[in-house]
Symmetry: C2
Subunit: 160 residues, 2 copies
């Protein structure tokens, strides 16, 4: 377990905002020597506190409409079949570019973030790709409209 102090956290906060900041810019902002900042960042990377560096894509490439999709499978007689069936749906959804995120949800469910050019397209996708699947107990789609926090996930997740 990584033990972080205030300086570590301050560095991480700056890098989260802008990972292109140079060592000397961070040193200046935090009023610490460059050698200290260099050493700390090296440690944070080695300890996998910083797992990776990435980019967030801008509005043009992001879907205009989003929905959270919940799918629940009907519990069949054979439990083993249920698990294989859910794993199959999850893998299929993950291959589709408008499925930004997909995860298992409990023993019999799936949760996913779906994107589209507009809300009708998101709904159509669910109707045509998900609701047609046999053996589902429940399919529910919640719109994701204006973000108050975490808006960056769309530009972080979107495929190019």
């Amino acid at each position: 377990m990584a033990q972080l102090d205030d300086l570590d956290r301050a560095i991480l906060r700056l890098l989260k905002e802008d990972a292109r900041l140079t060592i000397s810019e961070i040193a200046e902002r935090l009023g610490r020597p460059e050698s200290t900042i260099h050493f700390r960042i090296k440690k944070l990377q080695e300890k996998n506190v910083i797992e990776r560096y990435t980019i967030v894509l801008g509005k043009d490439l992001r879907p205009k409409a989003l929905g959270i999709l919940y799918i629940q499978a009907r519990t069949p007689v054979i439990e083993d079949f249920l698990q294989k069936y859910i794993a199959h749906i999850v893998k299929t959804l993950a291959m589709l570019p408008n499925v930004l995120m997909v995860a298992r949800s409990g023993g019999d469910g799936i949760i996913a973030l779906i994107g589209g050019d507009n809300w009708e397209k998101v709904q159509d996708f669910v109707k045509e790709t998900v609701e047609v699947l046999p053996g589902l107990e429940r399919v529910e789609l919640f719109p994701v409209d204006s973000f108050e926090k975490g808006a960056g996930i769309v530009g972080f997740l979107v495929d190019v």
Copy 2:
């Protein structure tokens, strides 16, 4: 609207995986001159196709359990009150560190991503912080378990 060609997309894919790649590393991988890569990245930044550079935090700092929370307010007689009430709940949730993401959902709903040390803590948070609020029609919490796609959102969203 940004017009991207195959080279732009190849550059973006490499930077999404590792935004620390140097111009010369990208040039070598894609078999193009450094000057071309330099020019393309400059353009992608100027056009806000690359909105920003950031870091993804590793496992130690991430919540161990996650849930998607859906809240639906009861429609009151006065529509204006409903909007203000939802805006208030959204703003309050956004201030809490274990609320990783929160957005409006349709005219009377809220959708959020909640983190915690374990599933019981996520459930307790919803019971103690959300279910106690007056005037709610529906509160539902879906576990988010193993990711097939988009696992990085947790390390992207988590506060330090």
